[in-house]
């Protein structure tokens, strides 16, 4: 069941009605669970086996970890307060047991993901290696269909287990409530990856009907449908037509595809998240924010704190920090400090940032692999990691340049320059995403520059990028796309400058204006959205990840 369908709207409406029925007030979480299971069953009942398996492991693992912590605290309370050695030995014992349970659970939970997502990637790599080494062996790929939301609920389960291990949250004792945390239907398709601490209390708590929640939720959903249906799905054929056979197009077309993809991807992913957050908001549940106007970022580092925020936070909390403060990384720091350059100003800077640099590279390598089991995604991750690493390593140089150029005195133009520069760097990264392969990505980049033919592109390629549509329809598509993109930009600019949501600003205006805006928005969406028979409604891009 697609989020952009009448069936989803009907399904959501029925769920919301059942959710607020007074008779079910104490069982709201059960309504959500049943709705989530129905939603998930629509994608294929066999896939439910995977989410159930992950839930069983997570549930039992969390209970065991929580039990170990409780036992430790109980035993600790019985110890003599002055017996520090006994305490240490107790801590060591339970930490070892806990770590063992955690690692076992993580191996099982992430093992499913790794196997389903990366088995064929590994087989292809091994086959390539065999061929390179002239070994007469070939492994056959395994036919598998990736279960819906696998990587999203796996990351949520992993985060929850780690949080329980650290004693940050208590384990949920109800299996069905753990299942709800992992399969909550608005987030199952493309996240956001919520933390247990943030989402679980909301899912299991009691919620009163509030008109404003319904209104805000619907407004957010309307905005999400606009981004997805009017912009993303209209832009999709341009990107797919070019990338399907980019060698038969000019290099300018490749460049154009990357720019349109930047628009499509943002509208698609953030639109989907708005629909999700809107749907949850109608049930008085606040989902984690996943986007904060990423194309206004001033650096790649800043971009990754604004784009897919929930994945970034997950990586930061569960990979980056544990690595950066680990003993191994501390050795790197000390190694540089004790080296010949350790006493220089740059040496001190290097010893401070190097552990972070290495941790960043590892995180981005994982982010690349998370996006897909292909070398091009590894390239995507490494590219981003390298850019951030360079910016970290050269921070003193950049600071010096800023001082010399007195950038502080031309704040706004410099801010615009930073955003444009960051956008260019981000767009280069997108080439890895849309190219057919890693070598194809480099080829596209080279062609974009070496085969730049603007007038040829405008006359011979641009009019045909929507496929077989009439000239009138083609013109209309471009007009709608440009107008909608400008509108999206204007709204984002207002949000960026004011730091407020448009719906909050709108809510302060006269009621008639609010209703007029909602009415016009709904009609424009229903008229110019890509939906219904004869329209190429696209799946969400991030669904495949």
């Amino acid at each position: 069941m697609s989020y952009v369908s009448i069936s989803f709207c009907v399904f959501l409406a029925l769920t919301v009605i059942a959710y607020y029925l007074p008779i079910l007030r104490k069982l709201q979480w059960l309504v959500l669970l049943i709705a989530s299971l129905i939603f998930y069953a629509f994608t294929g009942i066999p896939f439910m086996v995977f989410i159930l398996a992950a839930t069983v492991v997570t549930y039992l693992g969390a209970l065991s970890l929580d039990g170990l912590l409780q036992s430790r605290d109980l035993e600790k309370s019985k110890l003599d307060k002055t017996d520090r050695e006994a305490k240490k030995s107790l801590n060591r014992k339970y930490e070892g047991l806990g770590r063992g349970v955690l690692i076992l659970c993580l191996i099982i939970v992430f093992g499913i993901l790794v196997f389903m997502k990366y088995a064929n990637f590994t087989i292809n790599m091994l086959n390539a290696l065999f061929s390179f080494a002239h070994v007469n062996a070939a492994l056959s790929p395994i036919y598998m269909v990736l279960p819906l939301g696998l990587s999203f609920y796996t990351f949520q389960a992993g985060g929850y287990l780690i949080d329980v291990y650290h004693g940050k949250v208590r384990a949920e004792r109800n299996f069905l409530k753990t299942l709800l945390f992992l399969c909550f239907f608005p987030q199952i398709v493309q996240g956001p990856i919520s933390s247990f601490e943030q989402l679980h209390p909301q899912l299991t708590g009691s919620h009163k009907f509030d008109y404003m929640n319904i209104k805000y939720g619907l407004e957010l959903m309307l905005w999400g449908f606009f981004k997805k249906s009017v912009i993303a799905d209209r832009a999709a054929p341009i990107v797919s037509n070019i990338t399907a056979d980019y060698l038969s197009f000019s290099g300018t077309a490749s460049l154009f595809a990357v720019l349109v993809y930047a628009l499509q991807l943002y509208a698609d992913f953030s639109g989907g998240i708005d629909i999700i957050r809107g749907a949850a908001r109608m049930m008085d549940i606040d989902m984690a924010e996943n986007f904060r106007r990423p194309y206004f970022s001033t650096s790649i580092n800043d971009y990754w704190t604004r784009w897919h925020i929930s994945l970034g936070n997950w990586m930061k909390n569960y990979i980056f920090y544990p690595l950066a403060v680990s003993k191994g990384f501390d050795r790197i720091r000390k190694g540089i400090k004790n080296s010949a350059i350790g006493n220089t100003a740059y040496g001190k800077h290097l010893s401070n940032v190097m552990p972070g640099c290495v941790a960043t590279m590892i995180v981005f390598l994982l982010i690349g692999l998370w996006h897909g089991a292909e070398l091009k995604y590894v390239g995507f991750g490494l590219y981003n990691g390298i850019i951030i690493m360079i910016s970290m390593l050269l921070t003193p140089v950049f600071e010096g340049m800023n001082k010399a150029l007195k950038t502080a005195s031309w704040k706004v133009p410099f801010r615009i320059f930073q955003s444009l520069r960051t956008f260019v760097l981000v767009a280069i990264g997108y080439v890895f995403d849309i190219a057919p392969s890693l070598s194809g990505a480099f080829n596209m980049m080279v062609r974009s520059v070496a085969d730049f033919r603007l007038s040829y592109f405008a006359q011979n390629e641009l009019p045909f990028l929507f496929g077989e549509v009439s000239a009138e329809q083609m013109q209309l598509n471009y007009i709608i796309l440009i107008a909608a993109a400008l509108f999206l930009f204007a709204v984002s600019l207002v949000q960026e400058i004011s730091g407020r949501e448009i719906r909050d600003i709108l809510n302060e205006r006269h009621a008639a204006l609010q209703w007029a805006v909602l009415f016009a928005g709904a009609i424009l969406l229903l008229t110019y959205g890509i939906y219904g028979p004869g329209y190429d409604v696209q799946g969400f891009v991030y669904m495949q990840f």
């Binding site: 008109y211 008229t527 110019y528």
Partner: protein, 387 residues
Amino acid sequence: MNYRAKRCIKTISLILAIILAVYFLQEFVVMPWQPRDVQISGFYKEDRDSLDVVFIGASDMYTAFSPALAYDKFGFTSYPFAPPRNSDGMWQLQVDEILRTQSPKLIVIEVNGALYTEADELVTEENLRLFTDHMPASQHKNELIETYVNKRDRINYYIPYLKYHGNITSLRDALNTMYERLSFEGRGGLYMKGERTHFETQSFENEIWATEDDNEELDMEPGHETALRGFLDYCQAKVDCPVLFIRAPHYVTEGEEVTLEFFHRANRVGSVVSNYGFDFINFDKLHSEIGLNYDEDFHNSEHLNINGQKKFTEYLGGLLVEKYGLADSAHSDGVRAKWERAVEYYNEFVRQGKALGEKDTQKSEYEFYEAESQELLNRLSAGLKGS
């Protein structure tokens, strides 16, 4: 009224306003509005039980017979419920619809729809949508959708906006369609009762084949034969009024072998129909008796033009009166007034059409609406530019 109730009313009002706006756009702007759509919609604008004869067929039927002229000459009312490329797979649902809305004294089936060679043309989405899009809501409409459309797609038939919402390609087109549709509603349907014709004669170089004595039969495509036999069974079991099968006038030339095949297949259809006890008249064998002249009365090999239509209407009308006793049909004053207006409009239509010259392809009153709308939009646009 408390705060909550007020909010509730406001929300419901907004939802209703959106539904109404979408309904308006669906009915008056985005739905297809070509001559064939107008023709089908026009059928539903006819007063209940006001039609004496209803014709089913394809383009060769609605160009061959003029209801207004027939009313003028013989006094019976009729309507061609006959969109282009109509196939025999659609006949039963059309007859069901005719019997649901009218009580005709006679149903005439032009058999072109049984002569096609492609089996997949029995009930296409295009054919089905042509009816369901313009059919008012009814149990029969629901049954049609449930019979022919898979479960997943049915919603698009009940709410055509889902399919057609992207049809607004320019403001001018949208205004044009809106004007035409509102005019249609304002006039209460079609003055000329679904008739469409041609004012020109296309020249032909090849020799005309003599068909009057040619009784050779060619097998029908099996899918169409099954559909035809199913329809004949249905007529025997369910239709109380007489059903007449005809083949409207065509001509066959040396260069158009397909038309000869159609002719021979029509002979086969005639045999099948006669075996079921229904009347079949092949007017391709009566060209001389009707007085049709290939140089003046045909638009092309498949369609009569305005001259041929007049001759054929007078011939067929006379035959129907004689054989089915249609002349003494009695209708209310309101219905008679509408048909008298139809005759006036038809005479004016023929006068204006002929005045435009042979090269003009004006075919139906639809084009009059369109011309009127375009003129209005041009004036509006000139006015806007001027201001």
